[in-house]
């Protein structure tokens, strides 16, 4: 802050209280400057945004005008890509409240802070929301039936990210998530339906997605895939035992794959179809099939028998995306 120009060059006989006055002046001016800088930054941001809005509106109007003229002259009324109609815009002159469009250029008219009231996104030409729709400082959109630009202020809400989506959770402990939800909205609604008060259609709970292992055809919950990949690539023999999930620690009968199928009990009918498209060649011995006991438990339905047959006939290690959370 300190550029104390040319105050100390006076003669040394200062009247009393000079230092006090000087200090006071410096302080006052410094505070003035701090506020000045903040205000001037806000002013700049706002005025630039309004300027761009004014220009965007004028350009939009000019393009509409160009499209209208095209229709009048009987040309094909399809909306041309921006760029192709540049020549056509040359001889168009339109005026809006805040700007003049003339010969392909836009000139401001008056002060955009006065002439333009709305912030328009220069890219999608939709109005911008100025406040987040949920979370801290939220305000409902001015016109709920209008389409707004996707670029919105960052949302700040506990347990949610900047987009307003809840954090992904592990499928395994859904209870924990529910508790945090209720604690976030203590007074708004009965604890049974904690999220009903939010207008936004954000999903109540997001679980981690599954991804396909890049090395083998199996699917895994995203948080476990590194662990799998480690084994899949055969990187650390030493750690294999420790890292195995209990299910895979079961009997390690090598290669005979069909035993795995019965786990897909909820979608037995789709299995034969899947078999046909699937049929990946890789049959990795490192992924021992789960214990055959589960097969006995479920019993063998005709579908499964077919699946087993098919698997035995082909070299069938089937993608096991349905039980991806191991």
């Amino acid at each position: 802050m300190g550029e104390s120009n040319g105050t100390e060059q006076q003669e040394s006989s200062f009247p009393s209280g000079t230092i006090a006055k000087l200090t006071c002046d410096i302080l006052n001016n410094t505070f003035y400057n701090i506020i000045h800088d903040i205000v001037s930054k806000v002013h700049r941001d706002e005025k630039m945004a309004r300027m761009r809005s004014a220009v965007t509106i004028a350009r939009q109007k000019a393009e509409d005008e160009a499209a209208r003229r095209r229709e009048e002259t009987g040309a094909k009324p399809t909306a041309l890509k921006p760029g192709e109609d540049f020549e056509e815009l040359k001889d168009i002159h339109v005026e809006t409240d805040g700007a003049v469009f003339d010969e392909g250029k836009v000139f401001l008219k008056g002060n955009p802070l006065q002439t333009t009231k709305e912030i328009i996104c220069p890219d999608c030409r939709l109005p911008r929301l100025l406040y987040p729709v949920t979370g801290v400082g939220a305000r409902p959109p001015p016109d709920p039936y209008r389409e707004y630009c996707q670029k919105q202020p960052m949302i700040s809400k506990p347990g949610h990210d900047v987009h307003g989506n809840p954090f992904a959770t592990d499928k395994l402990n859904p209870k924990k998530k529910k508790q945090t939800n209720t604690s976030n909205t203590p007074a708004s609604s009965p604890p049974t339906t904690p999220d009903s008060s939010f207008k936004q259609a954000a999903p109540e709970k997001v679980s981690f997605p599954t991804v396909k292992c890049p090395n083998c055809p199996r699917y895994f919950v995203v948080t476990r895939v590194a662990q799998h990949l480690d084994r899949c690539l055969g990187l650390s023999g030493r750690q294999v035992n420790r890292n195995k999930t209990p299910m895979e620690n079961g009997t390690s009968t090598p290669s005979s794959a069909p035993a795995k199928r019965p786990l897909d009990e909820d979608t037995p009918s789709t299995l034969p179809k899947k078999k046909k498209l699937g049929a990946p060649k890789k049959l990795s011995g490192k992924k021992p099939p789960p214990a055959p006991s589960s097969k006995l438990k479920n019993g063998v339905t005709p579908d499964m028998a077919a699946a087993a047959d098919a698997a035995a006939a082909g070299d069938g290690d089937i993608k096991s995306e349905t039980n991806g959370d191991n």
Binding site: Y32, R44, M51, F86, A99, Q150, V222, R231, L233, L235
Partner: protein, 488 residues
């Protein structure tokens, strides 16, 4: 990503206000004259150039620190109140405000922002109008229309603000990748098809995997996280030490990634000593000069080594503080670390053999200085102390600034001239929580003007103060002005 010119010419007005328009479009060179005086005033008001603002018109008596307005017509300086009377008297309508150097139009009674004039600002002090008018940027909106009709448009949704899923102990990878994803230079490179994945034949190419992440972050408006699976696979395949389901050091991973990106580019030179013309070399690699001075004969031996980052010792600072050297309450600072990094250091006898003294072992002084600064400067605060028996992590805050001038730590600390070539802005800060051998990384990245905390797939907005009070482990600084980059 937001910092990559998201302003499009199509949405800019030709002039900041009607009055500028008439001024510039005047016949007979008046427009050029106006531009020249704009540059002149702009340079005269540059910080650190004293003299232009010395006492005039009794300005110093009232509000000597307050913003002043310099008339573009006659270079006189006024306070806010005097400006109006001057305008009435002389008819000079344009003034530049001394603090932020914005243009004030007296007729509008408001600050005006003119995109054409703003561009003149980036020209170097000595350059004249002709130089500034060389098309450093595309000046016409026709070019932009062309680009727009031939390129994919980014969606308006919060660009690039996406988390990265933790694939299982991969937060070390996530923090580094997230940092790179927020770098404007790398965005320009990868989105400009710098790494041509389609023609890349290298198996498990790290460059391709990173390019994929850049493409995914910028093309779709997905808000959920991204699983950097291919990068993980490529990294594991490329480096046996990184491979495996275990925690890694983010700093080591950064060095690995930079090295692999460098070797994935066309026309790179593996031998860093010879210098390399490739993009990644220019972006990531600086040069560190180590000079050893013999205490006996004064012979100086200099070696220059490429550097990817600065590893700063925080222990020295911490110990000094413990002994009350720098004051009991002072927290260690980044600049303090840099100072001790570049200060002379006594070498014990027997470590250094002086060629000037016939190859005998001598006491000597060693000093490190930065010879060349990279565009992306990574600084590691060495929080880990390894002694013979124990390794421990030093917790606690180390103050770091939002922007830093690196000039004092270079080989030429007293260079006069444009200091802005050495100014770096903080772009991201990686924090490690937990113990030495097990813990968690998360990263604060700057997105435009805002700071965002990326904790794997959890993305939240944070205030600047939270970033500055974080216990950073890695700090990434970006060169503020590429145009003025030192070209040594």
């Amino acid at each position: 990503m937001a910092s990559v010119a998201c302003v499009s010419l199509l949405s800019e007005a030709e002039f900041g206000c009607e009055h500028i328009a008439t001024q510039i479009t005047q016949e007979g060179g008046a427009g050029d004259q106006f531009k020249t005086s704009f540059i002149k005033t702009h340079n005269a008001l540059a910080p650190h150039t004293k003299g232009a603002l010395t006492a005039q018109n009794g300005v110093h008596t009232t509000g000597f620190l307050k913003p002043k307005y310099m008339c573009l017509g006659c270079s006189e300086v006024f306070t806010n109140g005097d400006r109006k009377t001057h305008a009435e008297k002389t008819g000079h309508r344009f003034y530049m405000e001394s603090r932020s150097r914005t243009l004030f139009c007296q007729t509008c009674g408001d600050f005006v922002y003119d995109c054409g004039l703003e561009r003149l600002r980036s020209s170097t002090p000595e350059s004249t109008l002709e130089l500034a008018q060389k098309r450093r940027f595309s000046d016409s909106s026709t070019d932009e229309l062309y680009v727009r009709s031939n390129a994919n448009k980014r969606t308006c949704a919060k660009q690039g603000v996406r988390g990265l899923f933790n694939l299982g102990q991969t937060c070390y990878l996530n923090v580094i990748l997230q940092t790179l994803l927020h770098d404007p230079i790398l965005n320009t490179y990868f989105l400009g098809n710098g790494h041509q994945s389609h023609e890349c034949s290298a198996p498990d190419c790290v460059g391709c995997a990173v390019a994929e992440a850049f493409a995914d972050f910028n093309s779709s408006d997905k808000a959920e996280g991204f699983a950097a699976l291919n990068l993980l696979l490529a990294s594991w395949r490329a480096s046996p030490t990184l491979a495996g389901y275990q925690q890694q050091d983010a700093h080591e991973y950064y060095q690995f990634l930079v090295d692999k990106l460098h070797s994935s580019t066309d026309g790179h030179n593996e031998n860093h000593a010879k210098g390399c013309p490739c993009f990644f070399h220019k972006t990531f690699y600086g040069k560190l000069r180590s000079s050893v001075t013999c205490d006996k004969c004064g012979n100086v031996t200099r070696t220059e080594d490429p550097m990817v980052d600065l590893s700063l010792d925080v222990q020295v600072q911490a110990k000094k503080r413990a002994m009350g050297g720098v004051g009991p309450s002072a927290t260690p600072t980044l600049s303090g670390c840099l100072e001790s990094f570049t200060s002379p250091e006594k070498l014990n006898a027997g470590v250094y053999n002086c060629s000037g003294c016939g190859g005998s072992a001598q006491k000597a002084t060693k000093q490190l200085r930065i010879k060349k600064l990279p565009a992306i400067l990574c600084m590691q605060l060495k929080r880990y102390e390894h002694t013979f028996s124990v390794s421990e992590k030093l917790e606690g805050r180390i103050d770091f600034p939002l922007s830093i001038n690196m000039l004092p730590y270079t080989t030429n600390p007293h260079t006069r001239g444009d200091k802005s070539r050495y100014v770096y802005d903080l772009s991201s800060a990686v924090v490690h929580k937990g113990k030495l051998d097990a813990g968690h990384y998360y990263v604060y990245c700057r997105q435009g003007e805002e700071w965002i905390l990326f904790n794997d797939d959890q993305v939240t907005s944070v205030p600047e103060s939270e970033v500055l009070s974080a216990d950073a482990y890695l700090l990434f600084y970006n060169l503020r002005s590429l145009a003025a980059a030192p070209s040594q």
